[in-house]
Amino acid sequence: MDNLFVEKYCHIKNNSIFVDGKLVYADKDAEGLRAFAKSAYRHLKPSYNKFFKMDEISKLGFVAAEVLISDIELSSYSEEDISIIISNSDSTLVTDKNHQDTIDDFDNFFPSPKVFVYTLPNIMIGEISIRHKLKGENTFFIVEKFNEELIVNHINSLFLTHKSKAFVGGWVNQSEDDYEAFLFWASDKGGVPFNALEMKRLYNIIT
């Protein structure tokens, strides 16, 4: 086939994880993203210690990718043919503020490389790449709201120019009082037609 399809997608919001629109895990008692990410990790049991050193938004992206990719047969692609194209509106604002808190006052000055390294949004792409051995194209976009046309056009262009065959794409955002992830797996193996209209529908399927 020479068209892309959304083979699978997942949403994480309001302490709940949905796959293809269906609830697969919830922990309503978890307070905030840090607690929910930990709860989801315990549920998924990936046995991946690097998870615990990640910042909160990388944990969110990691959990979403874990759920999304778990039953995809990655070995049917070469590593360099799987790309990750993610977007959000707040970049790494929460982590930025954590770093800023360590440098505001020279009498109480303790910047840490472990925090600073996470003040770039594409570090999340790096973490997902390391976990699943994905070596394809990477782009992190910053947009005010989820922009289905941008994501669809970008991924389609990479696909049509033969730069990549399969894609992890979507939205992973953490603001100061909320968080939201929507990741999809796009390939030529069938599923929901890969266009902006369908992408918008899938993004909004969990309200």
């Binding site: 604002l93 505001d104 490389p113 600073f116 594409n122 792409i125 005010e144 262009s157």
Partner: protein, 383 residues
Amino acid sequence: MIYFKSSNIISSLGFDTKETFTSMLRGEIGIKSINNKKYYPEAFPASMIDEVKLDKEFDLIAIKYANTKKYTKLEKMLILSVVDALSKTDVDIKSKRTAIILSTTKGNIDLLSGDNNSFDSKRVLLWKLGEMIQDFFNNPNKIIVISNACISGVLAIVTAAMYINADMYDNVVVAGGDIVSRFVVSGFMSFMSLSPTACKPFDINRDGLSLGEAAGTVIVSRFENKNQQNIIFKGGATANDANHISGPSRTAEGSFIAISKAFAEADMSPNQINHISAHGTATPYNDEMESIAIERHNLLHASVNSIKGYLGHTLGAAGIIETAILLEEMEQNIILKTAGFENSGVSQPINIVSDNTNKEISCCLKMASGFGGSNAAMIISKG
């Protein structure tokens, strides 16, 4: 075909590409010791924009555009950069067929500190920074903001070319910028990756990077420049090392893949490349990794330089201003020496340019790598 139309660099060495290039050719180094507690408790070397000059030049532009809004330092740098690059072309910035792509890592991050409270807190968000630039120029398309660490600039240019090829636009204005801030200086200091002196790319005594602030613009188009030498985008790609978030692959895995894919798109082979503009940050690992990528692709015959020794690492601007300098080098057939370099300190026998060299340059490779295991490569040639 995708053509490079014009460029601009706003840096410590000049406010346009030619001025910056000419300063570099004279051997001027923009990296100076900065002793200002606004940024860091101790002195550190960095390449900084002259703010008095910036404000003066910006005020003239604001009057011309009848714009009375208040802008941050970075916004002023970016707007000036785009105005200058546009002035050298007939590209209509208000057309639906013209897009703007912005490359930045941290945008207006200095607004986070509370010392600059006169701006709306949203201004620290990168899409808002983009919106300020888009609105200044009345561009009808939603600005596209890419924040992908140190490959952002090269990635933005490669993306622009891809969108023109897909017939989404006729022209794309690719602008990039980042400032030196307490946020970034403290972060790199905590990593112990800043050199105590101006950085020394590929040198045996290299001991870390230098930071710099800059804005840059390149305009790419499906329309060629009439009656002059054209430089063409041939191919480009990114790839991830899938190895480590803050250190490059020891086998240059991602860089190797990105270069392979760039060659595939360009439909060219390594023996056609005669010059390489490296990322060359002067950290021990980055430069070594690049030498391995160059060797693995049988590119040892090509000359290699890095301009980080003049302007430091300008993060989101780096790939764009380095491409602007590369275009100038190709136009003038002069390769700039790698400032700070004396004796090779990388394992592969790559051909590092240590003196300004006159040489016919027909086809070049631009490399970039960054945190998150990201790598980018782009091939450009004379048309």
